[in-house]
């Protein structure tokens, strides 16, 4: 089985832990010296860098948050002088101010290695043509995939996003064997290729899809339409960009590259560290990053870590696809509910297109009410009342199976769910808590 950095990727667990301890001690010391916010937070807790001697001390360290990046915009959290920074990336996010991150030359090399490990695992190499259809620019997707593909010696086709016909023409003419883009764009490309009747001219083997949530059903639909194997990649610009965690050839969760990033799962309310396997908020500490390091960064992604060894032989822990954002989490009758879970159920029923939906939560007589409105669509509609009742029952049943609590499902007129700026408002919580 091909590996990019076999010694690191298959390093025994005890050795990974030893390496992490050394690197964490180094990182805490230099951040204490160079990053004012981190120094202040350590001082507030009465902690000195010398109190941190191994990864076991990690839970003592203070958390960091997205808001920190906004408060110290643009360069306030960099740990090196800007003359050592060779590139910046930025994202605006959906709310408020931009955030900026910086990379040293070595940071870029480490990033390339993260992505190269994945591409090698998927069987890509010098003979491959990697079409990068993520956006290039301040967004990390385009250049992140580009760097990894360059590292493995593949031929990069730097398409950036958009212009669908041209994307497909390029795939056909240039013989692209791998595609990197968002999963929704991959699905769209697949559908367009079908419409153009060129599906059988595609030579794609592997697709690397990330930067937005997607489901197993979507994976199958993409694989089916583009005739490739679809792999998940996870990352966020605050930590590195795409490649922080990557699926291997077994498509069974994403290996977090633990020689560079230490993942933890915590209870989002108490901040307490949870054992592997439990669901909670994902937290990362970057232990090799020079330019823009973060200690215990709260990603707001809710997921699980899988400690069991992977069939591929890599020893690095795997993370499941995040099932939601801690910001989006609803607690209904004491049960955690994520809009993404509802989306997944609706997608499994609606085929390729997820019907529009809205969750309405209220409290009546001290009990939470939980309604899910689903817009009727042509693919769901049938000319008989029995089928519609059956549809409603099957949505209700599947929601109960997935969520563990019952919802009142209502089929509503198309386009009747209120939208703001083109996006449907997913959650209405009328409870006065």
């Amino acid at each position: 089985m091909a590996m990019w950095q076999k010694e690191i990727e298959t390093m025994p667990r005890e050795e990974i832990k030893k390496l992490q301890s050394e690197r964490l001690v180094w990182q805490v010391k230099r951040m204490y010296e160079n990053v004012e916010l981190f120094r202040r937070r350590m001082d507030e807790k009465g902690l000195k860098p010398s109190d941190i001697t191994s990864v076991d001390d990690l839970p003592k360290l203070p958390f960091s948050y997205k808001q920190d990046l906004r408060d110290w915009y643009p360069y306030g959290l960099f740990a090196v002088p800007t003359h050592d920074i060779v590139r910046v990336h930025a994202s605006s996010g959906t709310t408020g101010k931009k955030i900026v991150v910086g990379y040293t030359e070595k940071d870029i090399k480490d990033w390339d290695d993260c992505v190269a490990r994945m591409m090698t695992a998927l069987g890509l190499g010098k003979d491959d043509f990697v079409q990068v259809s993520y956006g290039y620019g301040l967004f990390t997707g385009g250049l992140g995939a580009h760097g990894g593909a360059t590292a493995i010696g593949a031929t990069v086709i730097p398409m950036s996003s958009g212009n669908t016909h041209n994307q497909i023409q390029t795939m056909v003419d240039f013989g692209s064997t791998a595609l990197c883009c968002t999963p929704s764009y991959a699905l769209y490309l697949g559908e367009s290729a079908e419409e153009l009747g060129v599906t059988d001219k595609l030579q794609l083997k592997a697709g690397i899809f990330g930067a937005e949530p997607w489901t197993e059903d979507m994976r199958h639909a993409i694989e089916d339409k583009l005739g490739l194997k679809a792999y998940d990649i996870y990352g966020l610009s605050e930590i590195m960009g795409p490649g922080v965690a990557c699926e291997c050839e077994y498509q069974a969760g994403m290996h977090v590259w633990e020689d560079m990033f230490i993942p933890e799962i915590i209870d989002p309310d108490t901040g307490e560290v949870l054992p592997y396997g439990e669901q909670g908020e994902l937290v990362f500490t970057t232990i090799t990053k020079e330019g823009f390091p973060l200690i215990r960064y709260r990603t707001r992604d809710i997921c699980q870590l899988i400690a069991e060894p992977c069939k591929c032989g890599r020893t690095h822990i795997r993370m499941k696809k995040p099932c939601g954002r801690s910001d989006d989490m609803l607690i209904i009758r004491g049960v955690n509910v994520f809009p993404s879970q509802i989306e997944e159920v609706l997608m499994s029923i609606g085929g390729d297109i997820t019907p529009n939906y809205q969750i309405v939560v209220d409290r009546v007589n001290n009990t939470d009410t939980f309604d899910v409105n689903v817009e009727m669509s042509e693919s769901l509609f049938a000319d008989d009342v029995k089928s519609i009742e059956k549809l409603e029952k099957s949505i209700t049943q599947k929601l109960r199976d997935v969520l563990g609590i019952g919802a009142n499902v209502h089929l509503v007129n198309p386009k009747s769910i209120q939208r703001s700026e083109g996006k449907a408002k997913r959650v209405i919580d009328n409870r006065k808590l």
């Binding site: 042509e378 509609f381 009342v385 519609i388 007129n413 198309p414």
Partner: protein, 143 residues
């Protein structure tokens, strides 16, 4: 023979049908038969109109979910037993009747029924063999 029926999804709430009827009226589309199958929460409005293609277009424009189904328009004697004669033919041929409803007008002094069956083609042939006429699209659209 077979004619086109439009089925439209509606929520069962006051005024729910109004935009549909208004939209058809504005485009000068005449409704020659109409029925509503409903539950407490929603319904299916079934329509026979004089220009089904245009109707589908204008309804989709206002965001209505609409499906086109083949149905039979059966002319029957307006006498007792007229209906049971037809149902017997279907039973004999193992054809299921999903639903039926009446037209607003009549053709050649015969009552017209919209009949939705499991196998429309076979049903039309069975009726023709038995000498029972089914209305053509052009007859319907003149009602």
């Amino acid at each position: 023979m077979l004619i086109k029926q439009l089925s439209v999804f509606t929520e069962n709430k006051p005024g729910g049908l109004a935009p549909i009827i208004e939209t058809l009226g504005k485009s000068n589309i005449d409704i020659s038969a109409l029925s509503l199958a409903d539950t407490s929460e929603y319904g299916i409005l079934r329509l026979i109109v004089n220009n089904s293609e245009l109707a589908v277009t204008v309804l989709k424009e206002i965001g209505v979910v609409v499906k086109v189904t083949d149905v039979l328009a059966v002319a029957m004697d307006d006498t007792p037993g007229g209906l049971s004669k037809i149902l017997e033919i279907f039973v004999h041929k193992n054809i299921n009747v999903d639903y039926m409803y009446a037209f607003v007008g009549s053709v050649n002094n015969k009552a017209l029924m919209v009949v939705k069956v499991s196998e429309p083609e076979a049903a039309a042939k069975a009726l023709a063999d038995a000498g029972i006429s089914t209305a053509e699209a052009k007859d319907i659209y003149r009602i």
